[in-house]
């Protein structure tokens, strides 16, 4: 059983600063990891009168975030908005498996090697932990910085309600049964591509998002593999250093540098993971959320078209015309509302995406340069020492 207490600070790698509206400031200052469960402390500072106190904290679990997300998705009123993607479940599988293997192999390695490997794994645990805290935090901050979603009642309950939310969660599941969500998942591709588009803007968006979505999903997978391979190389240096240290004393001094090599390589691998892979992962989910919006609009369009057809039929038959007219008007309104808000959302999404990419790519390049320069000076010192000894 591993308990991690993590104090998180400024790890906003995938989104630009969302937390700058003083009226509602949210962050996750710490979290506890017990076995499989992570308990986040959600801290709110607000000037809004709708809340009972100006500052308060509540403990929340991952499932509570999911509940909040699903509730928002299934709120008809928000159909024209991009609902921020739900944070993924905290996944400690990889480091846990490695820790297990390490334990099994303890007998075959030196004490030093074992300690180093253990340190590495603990760092990995910590990195996973930090990432999951960050991604949950960003989810909340996107909600708080959205003009419409920040006013959502359930959101406010999430922030404020100091009792366990699990009761509410159960009720919600029973009410909606995840019905709408499932429909979205299975039908969206077909529907989005099937519906005839009338609006140029949406036509372009549709083409773009469908294509981009596939590509970014692919890139994310490939990036994950790459950073994992990088980590393996870094870890190998630990083993090399350990054995070299037990061989001749003469070469010992210079060969200890393999330990620093490992550190630098390890840092490069994890920075790459954070800036690049994590970026791609996040936007894969965000693109999906945008696609969901398109789906809902397409559905509304389909309904609208159907209602038109129904109205025509009704007029032909001169039966239930008023009802059909009513229905048609409603569909039209819904569709137009969706289109209008959808356009706004997608445009700001574009901007947000570009800014986030820029930030992360710049930071990643800067980190690579920094680490490489560090390596260079260390290697040079090392070589000098070796040559002179």
């Amino acid at each position: 059983m591993i308990i991690f207490v993590c104090v998180v600070f400024q790890l906003r790698s995938v989104s630009v600063d969302l937390n700058n509206d003083v009226s509602l400031l949210i962050d996750i200052p710490d979290a506890l990891c017990e076995r499989d469960k992570v308990k986040f402390t959600v801290h709110t500072k607000t000037t809004l009168s709708v809340f009972q106190k100006p500052e308060f904290s509540v403990p929340r679990q991952h499932e509570d975030f999911i509940w909040l997300h699903d509730t928002l998705v299934e709120t008809e009123e928000y159909a024209g908005l991009i609902i921020p993607p739900a944070p993924p479940k905290p996944d400690f599988e990889s480091p846990r498996e490695k820790m297990h293997k390490l334990g099994e192999g303890e007998a075959t390695m030196t004490k030093e090697e074992y300690t180093k490997m253990k340190q590495e794994l603990e760092a990995e645990y910590l990195a996973v932990f930090k990432k999951t805290v960050q991604v949950h935090e960003v989810f909340l901050q996107r909600l708080s910085s959205h003009p419409v979603l920040s006013k959502d009642r359930n959101f406010q309950i999430f922030l404020e309600y100091d009792q366990d939310l699990s009761v509410r969660r159960k009720n919600a599941k029973e009410m909606f049964g995840g019905f709408f969500k499932n429909m979205v998942k299975s039908a969206d591709e077909v529907l989005i591509s099937g519906v005839k588009e009338v609006d140029d803007f949406f036509e372009q968006e549709k083409t773009f998002l469908l294509d981009y979505s596939t590509k970014i999903k692919d890139s994310t997978t490939k990036a994950e593999r790459m950073t994992r391979a990088h980590k393996n190389v870094a870890d190998d240096y630990i083993h090399v250093a350990a054995i070299l240290n037990s061989i001749s004393a003469e070469e010992n001094t210079a060969l200890k540098n393999f330990t620093f090599l490992q550190k630098v390589e390890g840092r490069v691998a994890s920075d790459q993971e954070l800036k690049l892979t994590e970026l791609l992962r996040y936007y894969t989910r965000d693109i999906q959320a945008a696609k969901d919006l398109l789906y809902r609009r397409a559905r509304a369009l389909a309904d609208y078209e159907n209602s038109n057809k129904a109205l025509d039929k009704a007029r032909l038959k001169s039966k239930d015309v008023a009802q059909a007219e009513d229905n048609q008007r409603q569909c039209m309104q819904k569709f137009e509302k969706l289109s209008e808000s959808g356009k706004k959302e997608l445009t700001s999404f574009k901007g947000r995406r570009v800014v986030a990419f820029r930030k992360n790519l710049v930071e990643m390049a800067e980190l690579e340069i920094k680490h490489a320069k560090n390596s260079v000076s260390l290697l040079q010192g090392c070589i000098e020492t070796l040559k002179n000894c």
Binding site: Y212, A223, A229, L261, R358, A365, I369, I383, K387
Partner: protein, 524 residues
Amino acid sequence: MERKPPPFPDSEEQEAHSEKAEEESGDDDDDDDDDGGEDIFTGNGARTAPLVLNAQDLFSEEGSYPGVQEPSVDNQHASNGLRSDDDEQDLFAEARVELSLDRSSTKGIREVTRSSPSAPDISYKSSTSKMSFEKPEEEESNDKFELNIAVTHPEKVGDGMNAYMVYKVSTQTTLPMFKSRAFSVRRRFSDFLGLFEKLSEKHAQNGYIVPLPPEKSVVGMTKVKVGKEDTSSTEFVEKRRAALERYLHRVVSHQNLLQDPDVREFLEKDELPRAVSTQTLSGAGFLKMINKASDAVNKMTIKMNESDNWFEEKLQEVENEEQQLRKLHAVVDALVNHRKDLCGNTAVFAKSMAMLGNSEDNTALSRALSQLAEVEDKMEQLHQEQASNDFFIFAELLADYVRLLGGVRNCFDQRIKTWQRWQDAQSTLQKKREVEAKLLWANKPDKLQQAKDEITEWEAKVTQYERDFERICATVRKEVLRFEKEKSNDFKVHIIKYLESLLVSQQRLIKYWEAFLPEAKAIS
């Protein structure tokens, strides 16, 4: 058949030499910023500048294996029936780097075409006793001798399962015992094994550490024979070529072995008689023999009573080290594979990034993503080269020494065998004396003379074997110390080379990312 080697100076000079060797190697690499710290020379007869062999050249930088570009040598080429170098070009991929001759105009260019991945040119100073290298500032030299050997130009001869690879062995030397100053011959793998067999037959029993040649490889060679020209078979050929070169370097850096006429013949003689018995013998075969012999030694009934623990302790050290190096080799092997993995994954990622960039609708971001794809492509190349360095500089070094340590163990076993022979002779002598005593008592004068003769014979043998034993003790001591020094130097040189390769790789990395940064910043 003991040859008296010419007198060699004592070990101090050699130490000075090996230190200087390192300095040379260091200086050398400072220049090679552009070609990744690898002294890879390109060239064939037509392209490289003619080498002027004067005193300056002999002390040009490490790693300059002056190719045999002298007109006189070219004639030798022709007479050796060497094919024109142009034929080689097709066998190997590009990866050629022309070394900028900024150090001195007389910097030799090694006549090498390398396949990719290629072994970085490990500056190897073959040390003969009289060879010492001066600092670059001092250009004058009179009594120093040099010996440089290169194994190059692997060529396939023949077809199908009877095909074999021939390598060009080029020597450049000022040692008077050779017929000329620069020459080259063609040798095939079994020739190298033949050389090893001859040397070990003659010298191993005297306690010398005879260097081991590379292993036979049925799988590797079959692919080559069958004509599969994929990366794995070119890799295999390159691996073998580099290993054969290292083998020869080790042979000639051993004073006693260098004096052996078989070595000279190997380097000089146009045609060697085909070594047939090597069909079963190889480095691996020899190691098996060593291990069997070791077991035999351990089973000997009379345990040696060591007067000083030096031998026992040393042997223990050697065995431990062998074990450690085996472990290390396995780990470095894993590193090589992981890096190859990384290389592959990076390439795949780069492609994916390029696709994403194409799909991106923001122009500046699209361009940046394409640039990122290009950077990752370059990273893939870096990883590829680094993996090759991991292998050739590091892994192969370790593999060599695991085998060599086996050879060291063998010389310890030879010492014990020698001791055993002496002991056996002593007990035989004792028995003969008993026989004589019995005969005296039984009064058989005719047989008595024979017994006395035998006693005399065995007394001489005992004296001889005792002397042999003392001699082998001294040889083993000297050899082990020489070996340790060589090993220490070897490791240091290689580690430096390896770190330098990492250094260059990091420097290139910086360039790539610094070029990318403005593109990333330009996104809007």
